[in-house]
């Protein structure tokens, strides 16, 4: 559990300039074994390297802060070469020249032996001014939420899972996400992606049903409470489909951001959103692949859970009727803010366009 410095309050309220100027406290010594002394903690490391590489557009500095190779998994592809990451970033900036990355939160965990796990929620603002995977320039301005889950060691990122809400971005650009999915399906991903997808599908779909996890009691310490929240949330809603539990898990006026412009407010809307989304999959199994818990303020904590869902597509979308019963996989990350035993805010991110593109591509190959 990360401590909250009562003098400065949570980082949430600190202006970016003070976050970037933050220096380690000599009295505390080095907080991060194996990392440069300029970083006061893993949160500080993530905020600063994100700013240097992506916001200041020093994309070549990936070489300073990433191992090479560094596997980067997304639902749309795979890369492990720093050169490839650099080239992809240049292409993105070329199409979205004013892209800015706004860090919204970092939830992290100490994995031991100098290894740290960070889940960084980022808002990108951008204007679509050049051709890219979203097609020719639309001239439209938009924002998109991304979560980058990184394993960090010795001053570098050594493994990453990247999730972006591409369907909401497409909608803001005036594009039809399913039409875009059909276009993306034409592109063949690297073989390493295909094998990863199959391994993940097998792993998740063959996972035995978990024991029922209880929503945390008031007596649990925050770390244990955060883990219980994550497991109960995923197991109860996604595996057991007990949507009545939404009233137990969430504050009645909770706000949720889900991919594709699904932004429900209140338990009725949250329950409806989950039911509508899950109704398109059968034989689903969801696994909680990593949990991190970080204190937000004195009575609130944040949970980051990376999860994977496997199942068969049984949705009603006319454009996907050829894909019925094909296997499908979702790589997602959810951030929960929990106060007094209830979720007050949630941010869930996955790439819905790649999800459908993978289905369409699988159908084409059958």
């Amino acid at each position: 559990m990360s401590p909250i410095d009562p003098a400065s309050g949570p980082r949430h309220w600190q202006p970016i300039a003070s976050l970037l100027e933050g220096k380690p406290n000599p009295a505390k010594g080095s907080c991060l074994p194996g990392f440069d002394r300029e970083f006061s903690g893993i949160e500080d490391f993530i905020i600063k390297i994100t700013h240097r590489i992506w916001e200041q557009k020093n994309v070549g500095r990936c070489a300073d802060y990433y191992f090479d190779p560094c596997p980067v998994h997304t639902l749309g592809g795979y890369s492990d070469s720093v050169d490839e990451v650099t080239q992809n970033t240049l292409a993105t900036i070329s199409a979205f020249p004013d892209r800015s990355l706004i860090g919204d939160n970092v939830v992290w965990s100490d994995e031991g032996d100098g290894v740290f796990y960070s889940s960084h929620r980022i808002i990108s603002t951008l204007t679509h001014l050049g051709s890219c995977e979203f097609g020719p320039a639309t001239g439209r301005s938009a924002w998109v939420m991304t979560v980058a889950d990184c394993v960090c060691r010795a001053n570098r990122v050594e493994y990453e899972w990247l999730m972006r809400d591409n369907s909401f971005l497409a909608l803001q650009l005036g594009l039809d996400p399913l039409e875009l999915a059909h276009q993306w399906a034409l592109k063949q991903p690297p073989g390493r992606f295909t094998s990863w997808w199959q391994e993940e599908y097998n792993r998740v779909s063959q996972t035995a049903p978990s024991k029922r996890t209880s929503w945390p009691s008031a007596s649990e310490d925050l770390m244990q409470a955060g883990r219980s929240c994550a497991n109960a949330w995923l197991d109860t809603l996604f595996n057991r489909k007990e949507f009545g539990a939404v009233e137990t898990f969430y504050r009645p006026n909770a706000r949720v951001i889900w991919p594709g412009g699904r932004h429900p407010i209140g338990v009725r809307g949250i329950s409806g959103t989950l039911i509508q989304w899950l109704s398109q999959f059968a034989d689903t199994r969801a696994t909680c692949d990593h949990v991190a818990v970080t204190a937000f303020d004195k009575d609130t904590f944040d949970v980051a859970l990376r999860w994977t869902l496997a199942g068969r597509y049984v949705g009603k979308e006319p454009a996907l009727q050829n894909c019925l019963n094909l296997p499908t996989l979702v790589l997602a990350c959810t951030h929960l803010r929990v106060q007094a035993g209830k979720i007050i805010e949630e941010w869930t991110v996955f790439d819905e366009i790649s999800l459908y593109a993978n289905l369409i591509r699988a159908q084409a190959s059958t």
Binding site: I123, T125, W143, N253, H263, S271, Q276
Partner: protein
């Protein structure tokens, strides 16, 4: 509440003299500004909201302010007038803060008053405004079942018994469509500033307004997001809430004739003799119109 007052000043300065720098200084890098149903992040996108307003309405005098605040949230309702224009424009800014910086601000301008102030056709004003966020409002069971848990706005604040019954009656008007609840909620001569109206109306005017809204939104469900009440000003409160429902249009394609939409509402209520004596209600009608028509 000195801190909250400190934040009200740059908001008023923004809309009265165009003090963009003063307002910007109170936002964080990750602050959110929502206006006309569009969510914006970052300096460029947020400033575009302000400039759109200032270009359309100019700067002016703040003729009237209503405000409420607690430790983390504040709301200001400004009535702005400009020399040479007979009609004022009303807007509300609801903001979440730490006394020094604003993390999220929700701005609801009264776009009907805006059109009247500019002597412009309402549809022309609507066309000038940005499209709202392409939200997908899920279908769900909007009915209240015997054991379902419902949240009342009065449960979101520690309200005194002097105003709670009238506030609950006020909510039953919106949540249950109980038009007669105005009898328990309002003084007979209550002054109610409805959206688009410069002059206040009586409770009968509210009944007509809400009945019209209920007729146009089927499968309606209301959810309160927040209530601001402060024991230092016990006879007033502000409530932020959302109404979701099916809006109907005249699209040729029958499948496109109904769209599920969300209307965000801010009400500022003042109580006297255990009833509502004065109310200001803010709805951005342009969001309603665009959400109902646009196929995202």
């Amino acid at each position: 509440m000195k801190a909250a007052q400190d934040l009200s000043y740059p908001i008023q300065r923004l809309f009265t003299v165009g003090d963009v720098a003063g307002m910007r200084a109170r936002l964080l890098h990750s602050s959110i500004w929502q206006q006309h149903g569009k969510t914006s992040f970052g300096d460029e996108q947020i400033t575009a909201h302000w400039m759109r307003w200032l270009a359309a309405c100019g700067t002016g005098i703040c003729a009237q302010t209503n405000s409420a605040e607690n430790n983390r949230e504040s709301v200001q309702i400004l009535t702005l007038t400009q020399a040479g224009r007979a009609t004022p424009v009303r807007l509300a800014v609801w903001y979440w803060h730490n006394g020094e910086h604003i993390k999220r601000a929700l701005c609801i301008p009264d776009t009907e008053m805006m059109a009247a102030a500019l002597s412009t056709d309402y549809s022309e004003i609507t066309q000038r405004l940005p499209p709202p966020d392409p939200l997908v409002i899920a279908d769900y069971d909007q009915q209240r079942h015997p054991l379902s848990v419902e949240v009342l706005p009065s449960q979101l604040a520690d309200l005194p018994s002097a105003i709670k019954p009238a506030f609950d009656a006020w909510w039953s008007l919106w949540q249950d469509g109980q038009l007669a609840a105005t009898e328990q909620a309002y003084l007979p001569a209550a002054k109610i500033f409805l959206p688009g109206k410069v002059e206040p109306g009586l409770p009968e005017a509210l009944v007509n307004y809400s009945a019209h809204m209920f007729h146009n939104l089927r499968r309606r469900y209301c959810v309160p997001e927040s209530v601001i009440w402060n024991p230092q000003s016990p006879d007033k409160l502000a409530v932020l809430w959302h109404m979701e429902g099916d809006a109907h249009n005249n699209a040729k394609d029958p499948s496109a004739r109904s769209r599920r939409i969300r209307v965000t509402v801010i009400n500022f209520l003042e109580f006297s003799q255990k009833r509502i004596a004065r109310e200001v209600m803010l709805v951005d009608q342009s969001v309603l119109a665009k959400s109902a028509q646009t196929q995202q």
